[in-house]
């Protein structure tokens, strides 16, 4: 027979359990607005029955509040984290695409962009056509041209600033990842400490999930939690768990340990117009590179890298070619870039062959050549091609025929900082060489390249016409658009590259491609480069259009000082209003194919096409992923969220239950009163 007072114990268990329930409800209500808080509930079980040796068998012994559990669904958490990554990626991308879009946006009079400035420049050139000798028209044109130059300078600098601020953000983002990883490792430890003593560390788990929410926005993550079982007896659960967080397939957190990432400054630029000091991300312990931009990655970090480094495969690639006699100079043939205007490689940089990186400190490019007879001598000169790709020859004095053409680069030479050993040279021969990195997306380097390509093509076309002319004083005209020489503040005027159309130079030389030696003699050359290698034969022309970038573009300082040095005609003796060259220059506005198969005035249209495709994509997808995120969050909230009405109902329920348990005690008390005081006496 069961104890007479057994009822008291049962009622007591009810009081206990409902006390806990009320407390949990209180906790739920208190944390209603706490971020990441999952509602908790008291798991109540009927306590084990007791054999009481009665006819009715056993008797139940009340209730046991076995645990307090968070109500969460791991499935929704995973979905949420995956989606967080995509959302983070597009959200970041949208933010930066908007900035790039803003830089290029042309709002006409209020905020003039390329199209407005370009049209203004050509309108003022129309003015020059009507009165070529008029100082005020010339001045107006030069100042409008300066505005265009300023536009390119400013846009390039803004893009640079953008690149460097993205780079800063990379650093803070990596710091954030490390901080989160560190916290997760710490929390794992605390959870284990608590849970090994029994029970569930709900609040810590909530904090950990919240941290992972944040981390998943930065990089795509995978998490894995395993229960630790007693090795001797696998059926016994020790209460401990292991918790792994992987990013990009590599372990970031391994229960109590974490694997920090590190930002390491690049030694060399990958693209010509990159800013100094860009970071690569490596694992601090192993020094291995952390590949952010892989196909199955997402998150804001990927977006940052794509925006910072994206060059749309605009870097130089080709086939390795070496001569065994020289291990420090290696060459690249079959180049992907064969025109000076398109050259995007930095002055110093890295080449990658067979997954090994080599640094080069200078390079030169060689035009495809052929031997021609000039003034009775056989000299190697660049082969010129017309637009249809037909070869244009030279006359007996080395002047290009038919008004000249474009030479084609078919070889690059790199001077390496450390040589390659002979065996490797043979091994590498014929392998693919990459300069910098190829990244499929259109980020800052892509837009910098577009600007550079445009200004080079435009400046070259403009200069080629302008240099045929004479200024107002009858002197041979110089280049109009020049490149700033950042080393000594002078200007590159491309004098060695003048296409020969208009008789001889002042020095009476007759070669169109060449350099001048210390005695002022012209030497034919087909090599252009960035380093003056005194041993090179033929000498390397430094003064070439590679030096011209959107950032460094300028107007010839002589012309700026004296606008009369702007040439409008090849024969000033016919009168100062002679303007046949202006007509040629005017045709550069839209009639000449200059940029991406269209006229110069279509530049912004092309850029708009690129920017808007990416910006629209980022815009639409960030919107979509945000919606999906909200949906998932809703579902997640639907499970784990605290609801006032629920809690109020619980409150009523638990209060009633508690009250009833109390009532039972008082009823039992009356019963004992009856039994003890009245019945026996």
């Amino acid at each position: 027979m069961s104890s007479t007072f057994f009822g008291l114990t049962i009622a007591g268990s009810g009081l206990n359990a409902f006390q806990a329930s009320i407390n949990t409800t209180a906790n739920n209500i208190a944390n209603e607005e706490t971020e990441g808080y999952a509602r908790q509930k008291v798991v109540k079980e009927a306590a084990g029955a007791l054999r009481v040796w009665q006819k009715f068998g056993s008797t139940s012994t009340g209730v046991v509040a076995s645990s307090i559990e968070s109500v969460r669904d791991k499935y929704y958490d995973d979905k949420y984290w995956i989606n967080q990554g995509d959302y983070g990626y597009y959200d970041k991308k949208q933010y930066y695409m908007q900035q790039i879009e803003d830089y290029f946006n042309d709002k006409g009079g209020t905020a003039p962009g390329f199209s407005t400035i370009f049209a203004d420049m050509f309108n003022s050139l129309e003015g020059v056509q009507t009165a070529a000798g008029d100082l005020s028209h010339r001045t107006e044109f030069v100042s409008e041209a300066q505005k265009m130059v300023d536009y390119f300078n400013n846009t390039a600098v803004r893009l640079e600033n953008l690149q460097s601020s993205i780079n800063d953000e990379v650093k803070t983002t990596i710091d954030q990842v490390n901080a989160i990883a560190q916290k997760i490792a710490l929390i794992n430890k605390q959870i284990n400490v608590i849970e090994m003593q029994g029970g569930i560390a709900n609040d810590l788990r909530d904090s950990r999930a919240l941290l992972i929410d944040d981390l998943s926005k930065i990089v795509r993550i995978e998490t894995d939690e395993q229960k630790v079982r007693n090795t001797n007896n696998p059926d016994i659960y020790t209460g401990a768990t292991t918790f792994t967080v992987k990013i990009n397939g590599q372990t970031l957190v391994e229960t109590f340990e974490y694997n920090p990432l590190e930002c390491r400054t690049r030694e060399d630029k990958y693209n010509q117009s990159d800013v100094e000091g860009l970071y690569d991300v490596v694992w601090k312990k192993s020094g291995m590179k952390f590949n952010v931009i892989s196909k199955n990655q997402s998150g804001s970090l990927k977006a940052l890298f794509e925006m910072r480094d994206g060059n749309d495969y605009g870097n130089l690639r080709g086939t390795f070619f070496a001569t065994e006699s020289d291990t420090t100079t290696v060459s690249l043939i079959n180049p992907s870039i064969s025109k000076v205007e398109y050259m995007s490689l930095p002055e110093k940089g890295v080449i990658t062959v067979n997954n090994t990186q080599y640094h080069y400190d200078s390079f030169s490019a060689e035009y495809r050549t052929k031997e021609y007879s000039v003034n009775g001598e056989i000299v190697k000169l660049p082969i010129l091609y017309d637009e249809a790709g037909n070869e244009i020859g030279y006359d007996d004095e080395g002047h290009p025929l038919e008004g000249g053409g474009t030479p084609i680069i078919d070889k690059y030479n790199f001077h390496l900082t450390t040589g390659i050993v002979g065996a490797k040279l043979t091994q590498y021969d014929g392998m693919t060489v990459t300069v910098g990195t190829s990244i499929s997306t259109k980020g800052v380097p892509f837009y910098q390249n577009q600007l550079n390509q445009f200004v080079r093509a435009f400046a070259k076309a403009f200069n080629d016409i302008h240099e045929q002319g004479e200024d107002i004083n009858g002197k041979q005209a110089e280049a109009f658009f020049v490149a700033g020489n950042s080393m000594d503040g002078t200007q590159w005027k491309f004098e060695n590259q003048r296409t020969y159309l208009n008789g001889e130079y002042d020095d009476g030389t007759t070669q169109s491609y060449g350099v001048t030696d210390e005695n002022g003699n012209h030497i034919p050359s087909y090599k252009i480069g960035v380093l003056n290698d005194p041993d090179s034969n033929p000498p390397i022309m430094l003064d070439n259009y590679y030096q011209l970038t959107a950032k460094g573009m300028g107007i010839n300082s002589n012309i700026k000082r004296d606008v009369n040095m702007f040439a409008t005609t090849a024969k000033i003796a016919n009168g100062i209003d002679n303007n046949e060259l202006v007509r040629g220059l005017l045709s550069l506005e839209s009639d000449t194919v200059l940029f991406r198969g269209g006229g110069a005035d279509k530049f912004l249209q092309c850029i708009y096409a690129d920017v808007t495709v990416d910006a629209q994509e980022a815009d639409v997808f960030s919107g979509n992923y945000e919606n999906i995120l909200k949906q998932i969050d809703k579902q997640r909230q639907s499970v784990m969220g605290v609801d006032e009405d629920d809690e109020a109902m619980d409150l009523v329920k638990f209060q009633n239950a508690y009250n009833l348990s109390s009532k039972i005690i008082s009823v039992l008390a009356e019963m004992y009163d009856q039994l003890i005081l009245r019945t026996g006496v």
Partner: protein, 609 residues
């Protein structure tokens, strides 16, 4: 699905935010009235807007700058041409007046004064400028068309083509009356006087030859004596306006033989005596293949020629043809041998002997004369606008810069090429047209060049007219003075009345010749002036056509401007009523979402327990 309060309020705030985004977008549209704020909102609109903006900027440049500018330029040109037409008309009036022979002393004086004024003014109009740019000078808008002041330093080498068929027969006079000033001089007509002068020697006589005239007199304005003719080219004209050079007589570089001779002479009265030189040029038979010309004589002035003529004996054929000779068989009049050309530097005249003239005219030759001319009068045209020329000394008289570099500037009006036969072909250059772009792919040459509107010869023609009127005036003056002497007391005693009668007869003859010459010349010139006037009028008509074309284009541009503006506005701008409607609906949605959210959470279960 379980819904919590937070989900409801999150949803509500999300909805409110969504509505706010719409209100914000509509509000931006309402304030800017533009359909889009950034290109990615609608790339099609953005790109189209760029294109329309560029077209509009172009049209504005044409419509608001180039066309008005072209218009003003044409206006200035027209005004100048009308002024020149007025001057020509005045010259024409003077021609008419001068060709009638009933002129008084005052008439002649007026004609003389007016001609001098008109001659200076004529080409000064050619210096007309628009915004400090000379309109008739092609691309050389910073230079004047005509010399503004007398310029003694500037020196040119000029090659001037002359057309043989332009030759006119001109009258050349020999002998003149030296007006006596006292009784002794009057007595010279007295056969008993020791200083007797044969009246024959003072009787004016005339001979006629074909002549062409250079556009400039080689009259030594500079005083350096550099003016000279150096070569004569013989060319055949072709129907396309070009000429093919056949051969030349070039003594400037020594390929023809040239000798200088001294000529000295005194006037019949012995009062004037001069020593001068002239050149005799014999063509090199290898280089010169044309025939007809066997000698060229170059004289400083007509007096030298006259003095030389008197020492020449014309052939019998020439005498038969009308050259008067004296008893010694020497020419009494100015003489050009049939196979010779006489060059008079002072007047820039090329006088052709009978055979030469006939040959050149029959074969319709073009004769190009190379000459050096230093120093120019006020109002004379600069040669570079008409002829191939080289400026060899500038207005400061400098021909080399400080570094010793030659400053010579070569000006081309003809392009040279070599034909299949190895002969040089001279083709007039396309004019130096200042083209204004007045609409897409349409240009308008706004300038007329001087050689298109006025003839260089007018200056020399006026020179001739001035000369002839001044000769007539001088002759009348002599006559009047002798007449006056006849009334003087000292000449009343014989033999003076008789002698003076003799003088008067001589003077009268001279007067008659010069009057005749003047009226003939003026009526000849009348024809020329009509031609010049025709050329000016044609230019004015041409200009009128251009102005009409410009007006049409202006109208078209104005229409296009409107059309493109409308297209642009249609593309870029929102319809205001549409914006307001959108805005109102977004705003209403926003307001109602606020109201709805406000109702949330007012009551929970707690309120009921």
């Amino acid at each position: 699905m379980r819904i919590t309060n937070n989900m409801i309020s999150d949803n509500a705030s999300m909805n409110i935010n969504g509505n706010k985004i719409r209100v914000d977008a509509d509000n931006t549209r309402m304030t800017t009235q533009k359909k889009i704020d950034r290109p990615s909102e609608d790339p099609v609109i953005a790109v189209r807007s760029l294109r329309l903006q560029t077209s509009l900027a172009k049209i504005n440049q044409y419509y608001e700058k180039n066309i008005p500018d072209a218009n003003s330029w044409l206006d200035v040109t027209e005004t100048a041409l009308l002024n020149i037409k007025d001057i020509m008309t005045d010259v024409r009036t003077l021609c008419v007046k001068g060709s009638t022979d009933t002129l008084t002393e005052d008439d002649r004086k007026t004609i003389y004064d007016q001609l001098q004024a008109l001659q200076k003014q004529c080409f000064a109009e050619g210096n007309a400028s628009y915004a400090e740019r000379t309109v008739f000078t092609g691309f050389r808008t910073d230079k004047n068309l005509a010399f503004m002041d007398e310029d003694k330093n500037t020196r040119y080498n000029i090659q001037e083509p002359l057309v043989a068929t332009d030759m006119v027969k001109s009258r050349f006079y020999t002998n003149k009356v030296d007006l006596p000033s006292n009784a002794t001089e009057v007595d010279r007509l007295n056969p008993n006087d020791p200083n007797y002068v044969d009246p024959e020697k003072m009787t004016i006589d005339e001979s006629d030859y074909y002549k062409l005239r250079l556009s400039y007199n080689l009259e030594n304005v500079s005083g350096t004596g550099e003016d000279t003719l150096t070569a004569i080219h013989f060319r055949n004209p072709k129907s396309d306006g070009s000429t093919v050079e056949n051969c030349k007589i070039d003594w400037g570089n020594g390929s023809a033989t040239s000798t200088s001779q001294i000529i000295s002479y005194t006037s019949p009265t012995g009062l004037d005596s001069t020593v001068s030189t002239y050149q005799t040029i014999t063509p090199d038979p290898v280089e010169y293949t044309e025939g007809a010309v066997n000698t060229i004589y170059q004289f400083e002035n007509e007096s030298d020629w006259a003095a030389w003529s008197k020492m020449q004996a014309p052939t019998q054929d020439e005498i038969d043809a009308g050259i008067k000779v004296d008893e010694n068989g020497l020419s009494k009049v100015k003489y050009v041998p049939s196979d010779a050309i006489v060059v008079i530097k002072e007047t820039g005249e090329l006088v052709f002997g009978e055979n030469v003239a006939t040959y050149l005219m029959n074969n319709k030759k073009v004769i190009a004369a190379d000459y050096t001319k230093a120093g120019f009068h006020e109002g004379e045209l600069r040669p570079e606008y008409y002829f191939d020329s080289t400026l060899t000394k500038n207005e400061k008289g400098v021909d080399k810069d400080v570094n010793g570099k030659d400053l010579a500037i070569k000006y081309d009006r003809y392009t040279q090429s070599v034909n299949d036969a190895g002969k040089t072909v001279y083709t007039p250059m396309i004019s130096y047209s200042i083209d204004y772009t007045i609409s897409q792919n349409q240009t308008l040459g706004v300038n007329l060049e001087a050689n298109q509107c006025f003839d260089h010869n007018i200056y020399q023609d006026m020179d001739d007219m001035i000369n002839s009127v001044s000769l007539a005036m001088a002759a009348h003056d002599k006559y009047d003075k002798i007449k006056a002497m006849m009334g003087e007391e000292q000449y009343q005693a014989p033999p003076y009345p008789e002698l003076l009668e003799g003088w008067l007869k001589l003077a009268e003859k001279e007067m008659d010749y010069f009057d005749d010459n003047m009226s003939k010349l003026y009526s000849e010139t009348l024809g020329k002036v009509d031609r010049y006037l025709g050329k000016v009028t044609l230019s004015i008509t041409d200009l009128g056509c251009r102005m009409d074309q410009l007006k049409l284009t202006e109208k078209r541009m104005s229409d296009q401007q409107e059309a493109v503006e409308e297209l642009k506005s249609e593309n870029d701008n929102m319809d205001l009523s549409e914006i307001i409607m959108n805005y109102t609906s977004s705003y209403t949605a926003y307001q109602s979402s606020l109201v709805a959210a406000g109702k949330l959470g007012e009551q929970t279960l707690l309120n009921y327990i």
